[in-house]
Subunit: 120 residues, 6 copies
Amino acid sequence: MDHHKLVLPEHMNHYGFLFGGYLLQWIDEFAYITATVDYPGLRFVTVAMDNLQFRRGIDTGEVLRFVVDKAGTGRTSVRYRIRAHGIVKQPDPATVLFETMVTFVNVDAAGRKTPLPGQT
Amino acid sequence: MDHHKLVLPEHMNHYGFLFGGYLLQWIDEFAYITATVDYPGLRFVTVAMDNLQFRRGIDTGEVLRFVVDKAGTGRTSVRYRIRAHGIVKQPDPATVLFETMVTFVNVDAAGRKTPLPGQT
Amino acid sequence: MDHHKLVLPEHMNHYGFLFGGYLLQWIDEFAYITATVDYPGLRFVTVAMDNLQFRRGIDTGEVLRFVVDKAGTGRTSVRYRIRAHGIVKQPDPATVLFETMVTFVNVDAAGRKTPLPGQT
Amino acid sequence: MDHHKLVLPEHMNHYGFLFGGYLLQWIDEFAYITATVDYPGLRFVTVAMDNLQFRRGIDTGEVLRFVVDKAGTGRTSVRYRIRAHGIVKQPDPATVLFETMVTFVNVDAAGRKTPLPGQT
Amino acid sequence: MDHHKLVLPEHMNHYGFLFGGYLLQWIDEFAYITATVDYPGLRFVTVAMDNLQFRRGIDTGEVLRFVVDKAGTGRTSVRYRIRAHGIVKQPDPATVLFETMVTFVNVDAAGRKTPLPGQT
Amino acid sequence: MDHHKLVLPEHMNHYGFLFGGYLLQWIDEFAYITATVDYPGLRFVTVAMDNLQFRRGIDTGEVLRFVVDKAGTGRTSVRYRIRAHGIVKQPDPATVLFETMVTFVNVDAAGRKTPLPGQT
């Protein structure tokens, strides 16, 4: 599932590149939305992120494309790989600017881990 | 080096707990500040985070204490471990609510990796 | 082109529904991104919105799906229809919660109207 | 009723002008406040905006003056015209930089349309 | 000169009242705008605030009315008194919920104190 | 107790210096956190700030160090002095860029003033 974000001056750090903290906030939201679309009616909480790699500085005016792919499931959890590309200011839109893995766990209303549909 | 943050209603997700995206944004800022205090005059960019573990839901009104410790250095890089504790709403302020490792690289004005002081 | 947004408590008005001001801000960003993807390399400014209709209150925790379709082009302008649906809390994801039309004009670096590609 | 807003760097788009999304957010708030002052004790929801025209780019440091005038009433609704002027950076403070019409409907606590005072 | 602000859930502290930090931010903006309207073309910087008194908790949904009055001028400075009233949720709109004095100094482009018009 | 904050482009005013409104918001949060650490379990509300002096313009990229010291206690109240220093862009980190006093009152759940521990 794809998501896009416009990088504005309010997102810059003092070096004139995207402040990583905003990127992380967007990742968390886009991964959560993807899980919610894939598994309607479940209740997910983020439990882990791995291998966050910030590969390039990102300019204002860039439009980021986040590609979110399911990378695997456990009994109560699902993992997504997220890659960000720049489609306006990068010479090659296939270049990966940022990459990470996010793991969600399905919980019930009391916060207890609960099997995904089809798991027991 | 310690940092503190007050968790406000504006930081909540729709389940009534701290939205992870804000936590990640604070981590990035606190780790950067710590590196800047430890290495005055250098220019750091975040290149990686590892092993982010969200262990507990965090309530509004919580005051988070972030403990940032240097975990190691390379020729051009420095790593920090960050642990977050809750000092108002947690029964035990030693409980780790969130944990990660952040890696910064020292760059020159052109963005090239540059040795840390004392490295060659 | 589709865009999604998670509605969080920070977006609520004092009646407990999505504050319309945030919805408008998201619309402007999503329409702009769509135009940028459709017409790479052009420089668009928003000149008008029409027929904004707020049809339903929107709850926290809702995931909004914005469907952005090209509705027409002029010599220097392009129009998009935007419709928002709720995919988590609405009984029918086909229900339109909000609808508008956005018009962009293509400008040069000096801000003068400039024909779209294929126009003269 | 007049409202004023200082345009700051955090409100800029990547072309160096006011991001339209912020302007729309302010409009919604200022129109709502005006309706609340005009009709104390009622409960208004925004149902429509029309004829939004972005006529000029707006710079950082501008102080915007929003003039909000009642344009008409229906049995359960009231309409306001909003015009924005620039009083610091525009050569003529009478120039209209942005204009729209906002329609509110008066609702009861259950969200049902309710006549305005003096209507039946 | 009057200014108004709608208090939204995003402005609450964890006790369910307006977070004072937002109130202070609005005060600074409204006082600055007033000085800019009173003295077109000058360049003001805030140098002091005095006697900030937070007298009452403020609820979400409140519409605050800020009354900003000139309290005096020096050779290079001007002082404003700001009082905030609640016009929706307070039984008496004359009640002062918050009060302070703000002092601005007129500076030139190099930041040096500069006499107000009519001063030498 | 010390607190630190990274000044980002989103915090600038249109003169290219830190917008005072953000500084005030940070002060309120840092003073509140300090009081909460000093007096665990109490419920504090800000009742006053005094002698706010903005002494210098502050640049983007500055890391501010806020030193918060207890300045005195009353039967139900506690006062803190807050001084801000710049540790990255100021030639002398001992220079005070901003200074104020904040007074908190301890209240019970109904909002009534309540003695501090050890007071009667």
